[in-house]
Structures are given as C-alpha cells and as structure tokens.
Symmetry: C2
Subunit: 322 residues, 2 copies
Amino acid sequence: MSYFGEHFWGEKNHGFEVLYHSVKQGPISTKELADFIRERATIEETYSKAMAKLSKLASNGTPMGTFAPLWEVFRVSSDKLALCHLELTRKLQDLIKDVLRYGEEQLKTHKKCKEEVVSTLDAVQVLSGVSQLLPKSRENYLNRCMDQERLRRESTSQKEMDKAETKTKKAAESLRRSVEKYNSARADFEQKMLDSALRFQAMEETHLRHMKALLGSYAHSVEDTHVQIGQVHEEFKQNIENVSVEMLLRKFAESKGTGREKPGPLDFEAYSAAALQEGNDETFAGSQGLSPSRTKPAGAGARATCSCRFPGARFRDMSRGG
Amino acid sequence: MSYFGEHFWGEKNHGFEVLYHSVKQGPISTKELADFIRERATIEETYSKAMAKLSKLASNGTPMGTFAPLWEVFRVSSDKLALCHLELTRKLQDLIKDVLRYGEEQLKTHKKCKEEVVSTLDAVQVLSGVSQLLPKSRENYLNRCMDQERLRRESTSQKEMDKAETKTKKAAESLRRSVEKYNSARADFEQKMLDSALRFQAMEETHLRHMKALLGSYAHSVEDTHVQIGQVHEEFKQNIENVSVEMLLRKFAESKGTGREKPGPLDFEAYSAAALQEGNDETFAGSQGLSPSRTKPAGAGARATCSCRFPGARFRDMSRGG
C-alpha cells in the first residue's frame, strides 16, 4: 500500500521535506546497526577471553586430592564456552562487513535518488511562489470591486465608473492568470510529489527488507551460538554426573596408591633359619670370589624386613600440627 | 568398596602419609571451587554491564526514519539479556556463600579427623622403629652363629665352644624379642592403618558428594539462565518478524505524516466570487464594529490558498546537496 503517497500532503506541504529527511536517515541507521553489532562482537570477545582465563584457573586446580579429575571437566567446559563466544565474535565481524557493504550500496542508491527527486523540489518551490502571489492578486481584485461598488453608490460620473470597471476587469484578468498558474503548479506538484513519495517508499521498503535480512542473520548467529552453548552446558552436566564419587575414589586410589601388599608377620624360626641360610650362601659366594653382602635382605623374611623401612621422620611434623 | 583400605600399603608404608596429605587437599579444592565460581560470577557481571551499555546504544539509535521502531526491539532484548546475566551473577554469589559455609564445616571435620588418626601416626612410627632394629638383631645372630661354626671347624676348646653357644643363644633370644616386637607393632599398624584408611575414604566420599551437590547447583543456575536467554533470543526473533516492513512503513507514515489532504485545484469563478462575498461580509462586519480581516482565507478556495503556503526557503539547502 502506498502509505507515503497518502500521508505526506497537508496544509503546509511539508511532506516532501519530511520524507526527504527521513529517507536520509537510512544510511545512518545502517551505520548505527554496524556500530551496535561491533559493540556486541566486542562484548562476546571479552567474554570469550574471560572464559579462556577461567579455563586456566580450572587447570591450575590442585592436582592432588580426590576432586582433581573434576577440574578437567571445568577446564574443558570453559574452553568450549570460550570457543563458542569467539566463534560468535567472528560471525558478527563478518556480519559487520555485510552491513558496511550494504551501507555503501545504499549511499549510491541515495545519491541516485536525490538526482531523481530534484524536479519535485522545483515543483514545491514553484507552487510556493505562485501561492504567495495568489492572495495579493485576490486582494487587488477585491479592492477594485469595492472601489467600483463605492463609486456606483456615490453615483460618480460614467467616465470614472468606466475607468473603475476597466481596472476591475484587469484585476480579474490578473487573478485569473494567477489561479491558472497556481492550478498548473499544483497539478505539477501533485504528480511529482506522488512520484517521489512512491519512490521514497520503494527505497525505504528495500532498505527495511535489507536491514531485516541483516537482523535475521544477526539473530541466527546469536541463536546458533546459543544452541552450541547449550550443548556445552549439557556436556558439563553429563560429565559431572558420569564421574561418580566411587569412580573418583577408585581413580585416586589407583593413581596415588602406594601398593596393595601389607607388611607380613614374621615367623622367628623361618626368619632366623633364612638368616643362617643367607650366611652359608655368603660363605660359599665368598669362596667363589664374590663380594660379601651380609646386609642384603633375601627370602620371605627379608621382604618383610624391607616392608618395615618407614620414613618415620617425615611424619613428625604432622603430629606437630603440619 | 574400600579403595583406600586396599591401595595404601606397599613396601615403604608411605600410604598413611599419602592419604593424609591428599585428604588435606579437600579444603583447598573447596576454596578453589569458590574462587572459580567467584571468577565466573565476575565474568557474568561484566557481561551484564556490557549488555546494559549495549541497550543504551540501542536506545540512542536515531528516532527518525522508518527503521527507528526496531531499535526498541534491540533495546528491550539487550536489557533482558543484561538482566539474565545479572541474575546468574546473584545466583552464583549465593552459591559462593554455600561453598564457603561448607568449607568451614569441612575444616572442623578435618580437625576432628586429625585428632582421630594421631594414634595411627604413632603406630607407623613404632613400626618404623622396630623395623630398624630387626636387621641389626638378625645380623648379630648371624655373626654369633658363624663364630660358633668357625670355632667348631677349628676344633676349639669345649670352654670356648660353650661361651660361643651361650652368645648365640642370647643373640637368638634377642632376635626372637625383636621379631615379637615387630609382629606386635605390625598388627597394631595394620589395624590402625585400616581404620584410618576407611575413615579417610568416608571423609572423601562425603566431601565429594558435597562438592558434586555444589557443582550440580552451579550447573543448574547456569542452565536456568541459559533457558531464559534462549527465551530472550526467541522473543527477539519473533519481535523482529512481527514488525513487518509494511507495518514500519505505515507506522512511519502515520507518525511523521504531514496530512492526507492534497492542495485542491482552484476554480477562478468560485474563488473570485468567494472573494467578493468575503468583501461584503467584511463591510457588514465592519459596520457591526468587528475588526477587518481581509487576508483571512475562507471557503473552499481560501482553504486551497492556505494549502499553498510553502516553506520554500527550507528546501533551498537541499538542492545544494544538503
């Protein structure tokens, strides 16, 4: 529907001016959209960097203790979130390029349009000019008529009456010409104004369709990222759930465990007999020219002895409240 | 399953030390979790503030032009996003309080636990002590046996042999006592170590369950916000779709429109007759003591004249490329 062709007339014929200045806002809103998206891209980039920093915080989590493996879940999740927001930043930066490219096209269209509507501006000015003459011409005619009427009432001479009548006729003729000029200017204005209004509307329509397509692209990028972020959150939740408490305890026990063999009890008879056997072996080994190794433990009893070598000193600080 | 009761034995009996130091990491990981959530809360707060700033950018979008109403959609959406992230910030700040509260409880539990495992530390040290005596005692016994054997082979006097045998018996007795002490210390250690391992595991299990509950709460808050953000995005997309190009054109035409009445054509006869009528009215009005108003337009023709009053001068700058 031709909204512009209908709503921009009115008493003062400001319509063309209003339309022209509004249409000039098109490239401004395009620039503003680019600024808005740029700001959003910066926000996403900042968020992405902060998430990468958060990921480092997670990877600095103490590697000791049973909770340690869960830091990896945090780290992975933060890294992925950082990536999602970085990807959005890049998509928005690409979109800004599209917006700016459109802005350049738009400026060309506007320049062309300006050339096309110049004649409407002329028509507006011509109509304005003749409209200013019209009341003067009309007043002049009215005065002549009143003069003639006054002379008639005062029964002035026929000669004076004839002179007055001639003046009235001239004034009427002048008024007729003014009316004709006005009608011609008005018709020209109406046609050109309608043309321009339709042209402006078509331009705005194209502009708005283009802008809405850009907004669609913006919304699409944001939504895409939102879906990805949702997957990262879901993954995080699943990973936390998957790492059961039992698994953490087992993992810890297996990785930090010191061994499953308890120190065995010693049997005196076996232990002393083994010592003697060891002594005999050494005597024999000595006669074979091997170096003596009396203190070296061997056999079951010796293993038990070995199990008993405690780093006792290392615990002392603990009892002092370390 | 008792993972701790199984995996922390081994040759050097370091198990208790490893477990004790690992369990001490519990409060550290709690503190680290609080730090992590605090950092995340700060990130969300920063994002929220940036979004509020973005909303202002949107509300500063040019109010002229057909695109103007769409800035409102941007503004509302940015405001809502700011709110979502602010709400997440607050939820995370509450969660930090929960984490810190748990951290305090945990420290109390750890203090109590430390008191309970002190006797295990003693048992470890006693076992370490007797284990160091054992090889010496064994070596002494072995030497006595070898001395006795050597004397026997050298056919030494019975008196010397008896002396050597007495020494061997004493050494055997000493070794037997050492073995008994070791066995007693070992049994005590095994029982206490097992008790402590189970106690440590129970503590870690409780710790991990608590931490996982906190992580669940964290994931829940993040997910809640994610759902809300999704709604804001959906709303944004819908609002953009709902504001059709036609609606924007109509809205613009209706709000910025200058009027729907075109300047009408003038009919000379009617226009001049109206002028005369006006003149007569004024003469009449003048005789009634009313002020003259010759220039005041009246009737259809006069309305048309009125429509023609152009602000022609205002367009001049446009033709100069304004």
